[in-house]
Symmetry: D3
Amino acid sequence: MTSERSMIGTTVDYNADGKQFGHLMVPNSRNESAWGTLMLPIVCIRNGDGPTMLLTGGNHGDEYEGPLAILKLLRRIDPARFNGRLIAMPALNLPAMRADARISPIDNGNMNRSFPGHPRGTITQRIAHYVWSELMPLADCVIDLHSGGHSLNFVPSAVMHELDDKDMMARAEAALRAFGAPISLQLKELDAVGMLDTAAEEMGKLFISTELGGAAMVTPETVGVTDRGLDNLLKHFGMLEGEPTPPEQPTRMMNTPDGAFTMSTADGLYEPVVELGEEVEAGQLLGRVHFVEEPEREPVEFHAAIGGVLYSRRVQGWTARGDTLAVVARDLPGA
Amino acid sequence: MTSERSMIGTTVDYNADGKQFGHLMVPNSRNESAWGTLMLPIVCIRNGDGPTMLLTGGNHGDEYEGPLAILKLLRRIDPARFNGRLIAMPALNLPAMRADARISPIDNGNMNRSFPGHPRGTITQRIAHYVWSELMPLADCVIDLHSGGHSLNFVPSAVMHELDDKDMMARAEAALRAFGAPISLQLKELDAVGMLDTAAEEMGKLFISTELGGAAMVTPETVGVTDRGLDNLLKHFGMLEGEPTPPEQPTRMMNTPDGAFTMSTADGLYEPVVELGEEVEAGQLLGRVHFVEEPEREPVEFHAAIGGVLYSRRVQGWTARGDTLAVVARDLPGA
Amino acid sequence: MTSERSMIGTTVDYNADGKQFGHLMVPNSRNESAWGTLMLPIVCIRNGDGPTMLLTGGNHGDEYEGPLAILKLLRRIDPARFNGRLIAMPALNLPAMRADARISPIDNGNMNRSFPGHPRGTITQRIAHYVWSELMPLADCVIDLHSGGHSLNFVPSAVMHELDDKDMMARAEAALRAFGAPISLQLKELDAVGMLDTAAEEMGKLFISTELGGAAMVTPETVGVTDRGLDNLLKHFGMLEGEPTPPEQPTRMMNTPDGAFTMSTADGLYEPVVELGEEVEAGQLLGRVHFVEEPEREPVEFHAAIGGVLYSRRVQGWTARGDTLAVVARDLPGA
Amino acid sequence: MTSERSMIGTTVDYNADGKQFGHLMVPNSRNESAWGTLMLPIVCIRNGDGPTMLLTGGNHGDEYEGPLAILKLLRRIDPARFNGRLIAMPALNLPAMRADARISPIDNGNMNRSFPGHPRGTITQRIAHYVWSELMPLADCVIDLHSGGHSLNFVPSAVMHELDDKDMMARAEAALRAFGAPISLQLKELDAVGMLDTAAEEMGKLFISTELGGAAMVTPETVGVTDRGLDNLLKHFGMLEGEPTPPEQPTRMMNTPDGAFTMSTADGLYEPVVELGEEVEAGQLLGRVHFVEEPEREPVEFHAAIGGVLYSRRVQGWTARGDTLAVVARDLPGA
Amino acid sequence: MTSERSMIGTTVDYNADGKQFGHLMVPNSRNESAWGTLMLPIVCIRNGDGPTMLLTGGNHGDEYEGPLAILKLLRRIDPARFNGRLIAMPALNLPAMRADARISPIDNGNMNRSFPGHPRGTITQRIAHYVWSELMPLADCVIDLHSGGHSLNFVPSAVMHELDDKDMMARAEAALRAFGAPISLQLKELDAVGMLDTAAEEMGKLFISTELGGAAMVTPETVGVTDRGLDNLLKHFGMLEGEPTPPEQPTRMMNTPDGAFTMSTADGLYEPVVELGEEVEAGQLLGRVHFVEEPEREPVEFHAAIGGVLYSRRVQGWTARGDTLAVVARDLPGA
Amino acid sequence: MTSERSMIGTTVDYNADGKQFGHLMVPNSRNESAWGTLMLPIVCIRNGDGPTMLLTGGNHGDEYEGPLAILKLLRRIDPARFNGRLIAMPALNLPAMRADARISPIDNGNMNRSFPGHPRGTITQRIAHYVWSELMPLADCVIDLHSGGHSLNFVPSAVMHELDDKDMMARAEAALRAFGAPISLQLKELDAVGMLDTAAEEMGKLFISTELGGAAMVTPETVGVTDRGLDNLLKHFGMLEGEPTPPEQPTRMMNTPDGAFTMSTADGLYEPVVELGEEVEAGQLLGRVHFVEEPEREPVEFHAAIGGVLYSRRVQGWTARGDTLAVVARDLPGA
């Protein structure tokens, strides 16, 4: 965590009122353009003295609900009927998105393992550093929209973390309930170093993430959950008028305890036998890995270690040893 | 269409009774192995004097319902209770499947544009040639199982072609009805040259294809449709005992007339507003392409040219000019 | 030269009057888009009963004078004041142009060695085949605009070939004089098979090519030569009103006899000592190749085999054995 | 800035008199050669007690005037008629030069963002560290020769920086005037961290850089400017006998104030309308970006924000959003 | 087999007396050099009216005994003491050799599956075509020197084919005995289409090949066998004076009958238990494939199907399903 | 050297008795698997209170004697007849081994330059860090098995370092003598930073390495030396019963003084004239580099700077400037 300033400039004035569409100007010297720049879209909407929300999508390049919902929201908002400040970046890892990929093809950077970044590091680290050093300090709350990408699919959900600060946890839970996704997940992150999440929380910001679908696609349903969720959050924080619209089914507060994750122990073709959102019992068959190069070989079976709801599953049929096949979520006690 | 013989050998005796698991031995001289071989799985089950079915999957490497259903079927069949001969290849383009890709990373070969192949061509062309010259002539019917792969998703369906031979068309339609997929599509192929389909039909074989899902994944539902469909086909042809199990909803005979296809005219992020299987009217909004690098720009809208059912849609959010976004199918008149 | 029809469709009606901006729709099935299309820009301007010109640029992707001049011309022409038909493709090898490269990154295709192409070949071969089978037959004259690309630089010039048909040669020379480039080159092509040039000439069309600059860049001067040259050609053929504008210096009719080409016999750094357009004498030093990894080694010198004008030179300092370093052109006897 | 010593060895004795051609031995363990070495050319010429000049080229691999002029100078100098010590490296980033590229294909390293380097870092960082830790301390002045490379073209110029040390600035300006390039640029570097320039200046060395042409080529003119400039510098420092040869036109002292840089805001084909070295007025059209995939679309125009001389321009026609299109330089007040 | 002429030129006059070092000039238009040439070394030594030998090495790029022995031979021969004509190409697939690889990185061409080639095909096909159309017709005998390359190792051997022409077989056997390698192999080629061997034999030329070692290296022993073998062949044909030098151990005439080849049926690490040249009995253990990712799993064992001598073995520990692990040769009956 | 803990988990309990086959679970988030894991094989055998040996192979992925001997040893050991604890990793850089390469294709990491690693670094650095932070502290001795890989070949040897701690050196020499390789090398490592060796020695562990063959292959002889050497080491440390089996020829204690290494100064084809294990005299010819693109050019000769035994040689014929061609070892004085 250096004190050096970012070399990234911006065409947006974060203190000006109204709606500004602009870019971060990220120096990107390369073979094709010695004095080239990566122009990263950023939008600032400001009116009145309400809170500041930093809203990001495309942290991973192949997770599309967030970017689409942000683009729609930005055109939808009338600054005159807005209260506070929204700073939105719909494509945090734009080079990855252009490649329909999780990580950046420029530097193989996983943006969500790159925080707090570095002003002289790779392109991915420089973007992370700008967000961390220039944008997060302006924010009261930070919303980072994820989905499953090419390899995972999720029951649409909003996510908060277990924190030591119980007051912050209560505020996060209230925001999750306002968002109103089918599942609200309270997560104990194991590998939190480098995440935007951790960077925001360590700075004392209210932080909410999501997992809103997957398979690198969006559906009318998952975009709908995201559109309504973002509106609800802005209403919840008083930035838009009105009350959050409750979902048809109340959100389910859940977590993913020990035993929630099932990983493949073999290379082969994955056949799931339980679909997303179905209830599973401990010991129940979740799926099989078949051996296409050895058709005579019996498939390996994978069973749930705990009961609950199938919260996430692997997408591609082709599966490698060590890939996550299934995640089971459990209702929070007392939730 | 050369008369040269294939250099590919096989470890299977197509005239022997019983169940044999074996390989095609495809010479594959390369930097890493001067005298290397691609071992392509093939299975032959034979008993009695019933018909011969050639059953293939993995023609495109990222279409997994077929390969999985074939692997399950092959272990399930008891040769003693079987009538005829089943020659099955679960991974026609195995190098593509290992790469979770449509086409072969060895030679960029699209297997389904490579028929009748060539005994001295690329690996993909050599495999196609073996299937065409050695396996197809043995078959009474040819079943080639496809799904949508990484870029398309389909309502599970079985597919036949419009043919000049009306008797053959009647036999194909009967097989489609036996298969019992939610949709039975009668297709007028525009670009039929090089397809396994065309090669089989030109040889006078009964030919059935499928589109059984997509997004490079399988679901319990789509595997279920495939499992039942294959059983039904084998019963329909008298190769397994019993009657085909009818689906819960009768299959819908449809086609894709002019105006069925909608292509993107812009690069951007695709937001569908209609889901697979939904009814659409002519002129109805199907989706929008948004411009993530220019958030201020209005998205481009795409509308249905004809009414019917949304039969197929693009998967990935990231979309290029010229990509197929949506295919609408229409009930066959009188079907 | 197959008689099969192209699978490429078009959104333009070549028989309609007025100015139409459209696309060729080239099927491009690939991992990212199973049912994808390469949309290739094409423009048709028609009015009255004048001749048909087929005008192409971007045959090689990094030669930019042609594409820029065509784009400017297409917007400049008023169909009401036009006579005949102009069919223009500013980016024949669009995938190469997107990569700022000579050849296509899709199939490594050199478009100008791909004629007459094939309707079932690679993308490059399919485009060539469409141009050959659908567009060339419509044309009275074919103009294909080249420059030097990344590796060569030229004195701006228009080019015709030595032909057996002396009448056609006279028509071509008249067109060259109308174009009015600093040099008008009469070329004896050594390796003519596969070229668009040859395909057009064998079909009996008047054919003109150009070499309008190079180093993958354009200059105001080279664009100016091209703008004026195209206007002049259209006036020469009576498709635009008025007389061709003569250049300030009359064009010089030249050729490149035996000894015109100098190739490097060593790998190293090229230092030219003569600039484009300078007069050279036989035996004069043209340049040296230096050895940067062996600074003590004397450079190799290259001398002109014939006298004339330095018509073309290698661009990049880094040079490989066998690269063309210099081309000397000589005034045509009696020209 | 570690105190660890470099692992790079040298075959040259920097304290010996005479002319030595040798190599830096950079350990380069890789798949093809477990105990391999990158041999980097270095030359030391010493005689008498004059000053030490460190002279480098090929900091970026596709900038050729410097390497060529250094190679010629090294063979030209007679040590007996030399005073002082010249340590010259004609190809600082030799792996990049072998690839005709700006940055190293081994580690994607931009040498001029890698200073002061690290003895255990990438190959590029190790070379930078050797130069910084072993060569710079020996030097009185450091001369690093750049050109525009593949993507930029420059009016040949020598460059110094605005420094706090006014005495050093006066010495640098005197050296620039001795060099005698058409333009002498006084630069306020915005992104100076990691540059060889900064490393040298922070060590208290007199530092001069250049921009001597571009487009990855050299011309007789730009090599001539470089040859004469190097001779003049050595005479200016008393290392060669005689007085610097003044240029035909006196050098113009200029700088690049706010507004000097114009970047593209669109992807497309760049058409410049002003050539290098031409005078421009504020507001004047500099060029246009055309849309070859949408020929009907009007090009975007780019205008000069300030008046002056067109000092630098983009080379390639194909241009991406964020690429520098033009740089305007202004005469220094009072210069 | 087209009748078109090759576009490849040569700097050598095959009818001139003396020793000429020259090149084939293979047009190689590419992104880096629009008018580039691959310069392929060729040497012609001629004196008197003796026979013509075409001698080639580097048909596969990573087989080095042949190229080294040819280079040594060419410098060793005194044309004045030579009788006949030697046309030698030490690096038939030079691009592959520069990459230390079997096949060409330019076009993935396996030279020895590319005959008779095509004058308009890939670079590899063009070279093959030149050899076939221009050089082979000049030759009385054709000698093509191979080794095992990266993936195979051989007991040094000379190789002839079983032919219908018994007289030609007798001449080939005599040449093999003159060469004097440890093993002389009489081969029944299974996949002979496209080989230089077949092309030469179909043209009625005496043809000899070799397998002289492997693992992409040479040893003093294998170079020695090759040096002596080439001298012996030239003496045998009366092109050099004197008698062939007999080897210390008489050559063993062998063949590779059915059962000679053992292929891996598993991916893993190969441990051979028999060394090259050892006698093996039918049923004897040849080696094992171990599973490094599953250390608990028992290795798969591979046994000899026939008895004889271990003639060839796989090199790399890492082994894929289908790779040739071992080849056993057997003494020819009556040999 | 951070104090952060590793994110890598393990399925093995290092404190449990018996033989456990398990994996390190290395998080490996990537495009194909957002929540993927690299499963790295690890085996723990424990019985009684004897010492702990950490035994590693596959530090470089193409060095196969170690991995094979470890796999065989692990299955061979009966825990009931074992004393102490063996923690074995047969494939430290498993991704490199899967690619038959020295370094990891995931991150280009050279494992043996990556110690002590970092818990948040690249995959290679994370594995190194786990070994350093979790496994080395448990060990009394550390044995890391190397061979020459694709580019080097060695006389089979065990290796220790010159250390300041003379008692540790005596213990290492005793272990080397117990191992009983043909050569026992006492090495003064020049570039020791980052090596597993250094990390172990700095932690005060007894450390032994090996160089057991090369060319990316194994031979029955080199596997035999390794099998016996590992058994001997375990007996020497009292972990297996019995006395070490002495080799047929006593091991030779040697070192590699100044002048031991010969590097190529030219690109070309390497012809060695001395074989591994042969005695050489100072000044003796070791080999030549030939110029296949310039057959007329005399080869460059390389001579031994010191006398001794040819301990190591380059494998591939194709050789680059700076590659190590030969290493000569000398008997230790008094050894």
